[in-house]
Amino acid sequence: MDFNFSKEQEQLGETIQRFVAREYSTERRKAILKSREGFSREVWAQLAELGLLALLIPEEHGGMGASALEVLLTMNAIGKALLLEPYLPSAILGTSLVRDLGSGEQKKAMLPALAAGELIVVPAHGEAGARYELERVATRATATADGFVLEGKKAVVLHATAANMLLVSARTAGAVNDRAGISLFVVPRDAAGLSLQEYPTLDSQRAADVTLHEVRVPRQNLLGPEGGAFEALSAAFDLGIAALCAEAVGALSASLDATVEYTRTRKQFGQPIGKFQVLQHRMADMLMHVEQARSMSYLAAMRCTDGDAAVRGRAVSAAKALVGQACRFVGQQSIQLHGGMGMTDELLISHHFRRLAAIELSLGDTEHHLEKFARGAQ
């Protein structure tokens, strides 16, 4: 066994950490939050320049062909600095779906543009009645002479407004919760019949509910085999979960560090509050959550590319369940230990808290993954 990153990986990790430290100060982030789009196109372009939007893209399509560990290191830094750019939905989920399902032509058209940051592509998969079940898709796609007509609603589509293309899942066959019969379609965001209702998310990002009414797409916009998108969706979401766990670890350790630092300097009753044993034990508990979460983020990263979907799914669910609980405990306690200051919008700690809460609710919450893990063991 070997727990070391390679030289190149370490260098990449340092580059990213330096980049976010330089470009993503709390002040800059505040300005970006207030901007119209809620993220920075400039930062997005810089991420492209650093090659970070191309991690999952094969070299033949202008990418880095990197491993899950490069993704992990990148997500660590993103979690620490609380980047608002659509990295997870586009550079991880959207990109890996195009990579895994796209025809030669589709890949040629989209992957280099994704790598260059010229294209933002996000999945529009979840639905109001589906909760976290991946296979529950009610949106329908009906075949016509030269393509398909899409009809249905997608919920909480992250960064839908920023996207050029949505990867919309729709049922071309089967019952509402069948794995077979789910197809994916590349739908331009400005397609006729597609409307977005945008709102801010718990962590100050943007999401939208998407309504598709008689949206017509040509047959060449079908991504992957008709009715056979489930396996790839499942693999992409597992990769997304592993990435999310790595992001969580960045945010978790930043929260712990900030809290320890705060309790060292904040004085009450004539001493730093970090001297109170009850707070020391609380922070010791936080540290244990962070380290356990870090271990699971490694496991999820290493297993998420495993060919055996069961092995992969089990590791990823275990990681997400454990990380979710760490997010809750560390998030809540970091606010508690900051006292009133923790409640303010001004300090970054409350933004970490909100991101951690959002991570717990994303791509399956703790309860969902506990149950999935337990089912897999039977």
């Binding site: 909480v156 718990l202 809750r328």
Partner: protein, 379 residues
């Protein structure tokens, strides 16, 4: 022992229920049921409606214009109001400064201030905390220097809830800088319109404006606005903190939120069935419901003991801790019940963020445990 309400108490409950249903304005109710902030007028309107019915001071004795109810009636009243979606009556006048003035204030202060509190004419806020003095309140630095028949107040208070709406603020100030921390503090009533007061908003993580910094620069406060003796303010403050904590349990409001949680869970589906029927989720709701059931009885026990003794005791800390843990657990479950839609930063998830405050304010839950260790466990 009898854990049932008597016939008279049941009749009283019906009376309160009918009144609240008949008089609570729909717009206010709607906001409360959806966890939205009320305006100053909305807060005062409901209190005024109660006052006009003779219920403006449901926790006060009759001689001060209160209802003179026993703890059980107070509890029923709070529960019925909360259940239907009435806003919580603001504690600052009724539960905090009111009892202090009643107990330690002069006859002139009682006549001047108490009727206006009971009639919802004055909006009060609480000026205790300072940037350097939160849990360690006794280290406060805001100074009041005697000059003829007034004090000159200088300093900064912070986290002052709804100071932006307040007519009056009651403050702990240092009148004897030489004395030991607790010994040099006085309790002043300060008109928010006094020259030299500046209120600056603090935006909390849910995006709301609920708390403020309040700055005092050479603010003149008449000596007659000091409650009780000079340098004895700490005694009055401690008396008040006990009252603040019993109020904080919020059993009535939590029962309402529990119902709301069940409604949400009934409306969400999991594996094609209502989430409320999901075993794991139903068990988590049951866990909180059971805690709440126990807290209700504990609260009634504590309140009855207090009524007999005529003062809140350290048991109030227990109500504060449990009450706030339940409020937080309910908001967490509501957010989780919504599934991925919980990600939208609207009422429910914003409330989840906002309620983190409850284990921090009113004496943090760590401080409450220190009190329990010291006074109940005698450690």
């Amino acid at each position: 022992m009898d854990l049932n309400f008597t016939d008279e108490e049941q009749a009283f409950r019906s009376e309160v229920r009918a009144f609240v249903r008949g008089h609570l304005p729909g717009g206010i109710r709607d906001k409360v049921l959806n966890g939205r902030h009320l305006t100053r007028d909305e807060t005062m309107d409901w209190h005024r409606i109660l006052a006009e019915h003779g219920w403006g001071a449901p926790t006060w004795p009759k001689e001060h214009g209160g209802t003179g109810w026993d703890p059980v009636r107070e509890f029923i009243f709070e529960e019925e109001c909360a259940a239907y979606g009435a806003p919580r009556l603001l504690p600052f006048g009724l539960r905090m400064v009111g009892p202090v003035i009643m107990t330690f204030g002069s006859a002139a202060q009682q006549q001047r201030f108490l009727p206006r509190i009971a009639a919802a004419q004055d909006f009060w806020c609480q000026g205790y905390s300072e940037p350097g003095s939160g849990s360690d309140l006794a280290s406060l630095k805001t100074s009041a220097v005697r000059s003829g028949n007034h004090y000159l107040v200088n300093g900064q208070k912070t986290w002052i809830t709804l100071a932006q709406y307040a007519d009056w603020i009651f403050c702990l100030v240092r009148t004897d800088p030489a004395a030991r921390a607790q010994a040099g503090i006085s309790f002043l009533l300060i008109d928010m319109k006094s020259p030299g007061i500046t209120v600056r908003p603090i935006i909390t993580m849910d995006g709301g404006h609920e708390v403020n910094e309040v700055w005092f620069e050479e603010v003149k406060v008449p000596v007659e606005n000091r409650v009780g003796e000079e340098n004895k303010g700490w005694t009055y403050a401690k008396f008040l903190l006990g009252h603040e904590r019993t109020n904080i349990a919020g059993v009535g409001a939590s029962k309402r939120e529990l119902d709301r949680l069940k409604q949400i869970a009934a409306g969400e589906s999991k594996n094609g069935r209502p989430l409320l029927e999901d075993r794991a989720f139903a068990a988590r709701i049951a866990q909180v419901e059971i805690e709440l059931l126990a807290l209700e009885i504990t609260q009634l026990r504590v309140l009855s003991a207090e009524a007999a003794r005529k003062a809140p005791g350290p048991e109030a800390s227990l109500l504060k801790i449990k009450g706030t843990e339940i409020q937080q657990a309910l908001s967490e479950l509501m957010m989780q019940a919504r599934g991925p839609s919980g990600l939208s930063f609207e009422g429910i998830s914003a409330t989840y963020c906002n309620l983190r405050k409850t284990s921090i304010y009113g004496g943090s839950n760590e401080i409450q445990k220190n009190i329990i260790s010291q006074w109940l466990l005698k450690l």
